[in-house]
């Protein structure tokens, strides 16, 4: 979801306040980046520069962390986040075929966002509901015991 200039300005102020409050705790970088990721939906260059400046560390450190952990993203995500579980339990029960179908339907691959900004497919290792394998989630909704043929109808709901 694209943020408006006002929203960005407000969120930036909030981020600065959050950093100010947390910068003296031991190991503040990750919690601050997690806050920023949650707030903006991604970590832009501007956001990373603010964090680097206020913590007094090179921005390469922030960027290194941002690109190391799967949770952080450098680009805004789509309106709907699809996670097709690729954990072992789902894999042995055909999770890969489900993912392939989703990718085919949307014309994007994992960790990409559709051109219209509607969907992002996210790499996921084990959503923790192995009893429902193979599983995918779209936002908060869980779809279990999937086959590739069910994918199209599910996507149509969004």
């Amino acid at each position: 979801m694209a943020l408006t200039t006002e929203q960005i300005a407000k969120k930036t102020e909030e981020l600065k306040a959050f950093i100010e409050e947390h910068k003296n705790m031991p190991g503040p970088l990750m919690p601050i980046m997690q806050y920023a990721q949650e707030s903006f939906g991604y970590l832009s260059l501007e956001t990373q520069l603010i964090i680097s400046d206020m913590l007094g560390i090179p921005v390469t450190e922030v960027y290194g962390v941002a690109t190391f952990y799967a949770q952080f993203s450098l680009q805004p995500k789509g309106d709907n986040i699809i996670s097709v579980c690729q954990g072992t339990a789902c894999y042995v029960k055909g999770g890969a075929a489900v993912l392939a179908e989703v990718e085919k339907e949307l014309g994007i691959t994992s960790n990409q966002t559709t051109q219209d900004g509607k969907f992002t497919i996210q790499d996921t290792r084990c959503l923790g509901c192995c009893g429902l394998a193979p599983v995918m989630t779209i936002n908060e909704d869980v779809y279990g015991k999937l086959t590739p043929s069910k994918v199209k109808d599910i996507l149509a709901k969004y």
Partner: protein, 625 residues
Amino acid sequence: MTLEELKRIQAETLPQINMRHTHKTEENVKYKRQVLICGGTGCTSSGSNKLMDEFRAQLESKGLTESVQIVRTGCFGLCELGPIVIVYPEGVFYAQCKVENVEKIVDEHIIGGKIIDELVYHEKTTGEVKEKLFDMQFYKKQHRVALRNCGVVDPEVIEDYIAFNGYQALAKCLFEYTPEQIIEIMLESGLRGRGGAGFPTGLKWKFAAGNRGNVKKYVCCNGDEGDPGAFMDRSVLEGDPHSVIEAMAIAAYVIGADQGYIYVRAEYPIAVKRLAIAINQAREKGLLGKNIFGTDFCFDVEIRLGAGAFVCGEETALMVSIEGHRGEPRPRPPFPAVKGVFGKPTILNNVETYANIPQIILNGAEWFKGMGTEKSKGTKVFALGGKIVNTGLVEVPMGTTIREIIFDIGGGIPNGKKFKAAQTGGPSGGCIPASLLDTHVDYDSLIAIGSMMGSGGLIVMDEDNCMVDIAKFFLEFTVDESCGKCTPCREGTKRMLEILTKITDGRGEDGDIEKLEELANTIKTTSLCGLGQTAPNPVLSTLRYFRDEYEAHVYEKRCPAGCCKKLAKVIIDPDKCKGCSLCSKKCPVGAISGEIKKPFVIDQSKCIKCGVCIDSCKFGAISKK
């Protein structure tokens, strides 16, 4: 909080909830009945929250809110049958409970007192009706120590935990034992780390215990359960968070730490939320914070969220991650007991290890030693998944055989398929073939057969799974999750994956298998951390037990399991095909053609082996060969 207050809370709460163990309603209690609904991730995914809302609404409309209590618990273990509802005092177990059944349960069972036979669980293998959870085959061979409170207490209510002797182990440590005595108990109990490597917990504590009181120290909990297909730690955190907090406090008392960190995957939102609630409640009750139980012992805990990096389950990586860096492991020595988080002495144990500790303190080392094998004491929790009837969480004494876990507890393989292999240890472990099903699960036996205990993921594979493909799956995972710091893991796993891909694509050539072995050996012996050192295990163990499958791929360009797409052929059986044309309509590439009411055929040059036709055929005429 004083010890007396703790005892008072226990005395007040226990009668209210003891029916969960005794199956009897005690006198003078407010709630005559309790409805326990699983709020673990599995059951939440299958809709337990809606179920709970419906129960509330029903009880309200029937004026029962004052006599029937609804409790949201952690995981019962049988995720396959979720959402799970248990009605006490009888302890009747309603599996795969649906919203539309709630009214009936309330009317007939809760009000009418009649157990509803058609809604209770029927044993899948025998069809027997099992009214009570623990009568089930699934629970018969289990022994719940780490999971003792999961599915029994409300994890968001500290009183529930206290009722079942919660925080008494901590009190006992503070008032009755010196740190040295506790280390002795831990050593005597034989408890080994449940995170994978199996290092003796008491020894770990002993190394960090020196110079107590003079230096800052930390106690950490590893809740970064990264094995894709393992959810033991998550279930403990969701179902019984206080047991971990209490154990960390005990560890802190032993080594002289005043600060703890619980490192949990951010992907576990329910666990994080319950943990945060539990920490706050413990603080409010004075069980964390300054001068715990009026002693001079001070300890507090903070949650740190992992951000999606498997390698952070490695102890040094976890610590640098807490410090706020890229989660790259560093060489040891120095060991964390000397130089850990923020350069200070640190102990790190995993969730399940901690969950055992209060019980060991309360029941003694002898009790714990009474379970398990000579070198592996106690129990182990496994996350059973894959091609198995009862997917879920099981806790068995060490030494139980894999056969017992898969067939007696897990109910065997569904759809009449044949067992092929069991995978333990996730990306660090190996595949165990049918011939070794009688292996006892303990640290050393699993290592001996080329696998490892790991954190407890146990994935079952049947005849349709290709072992080369499974090895490739794990290598893909490792390549993705390698931190990139050391050469063999960064470069070598990628090359192994390339060779495996070549083989499963039908481009394998003479010498590839040997190259895989050579690389595996180099990565295993020269990698910096445990992730790299164990990354080749899935390949090495499948090569050890299923070499013929590799050879079939390389030399005969054939996938015996019919799984590898580029080697597979999708074929229509002309005897079964009714010529309905549905498959040809579904085929995304137009590879199927034929005349109506006559057998259809697939053009192999066009087929992309997507399998859509197989799913679409109503007559089972299409299959992969």
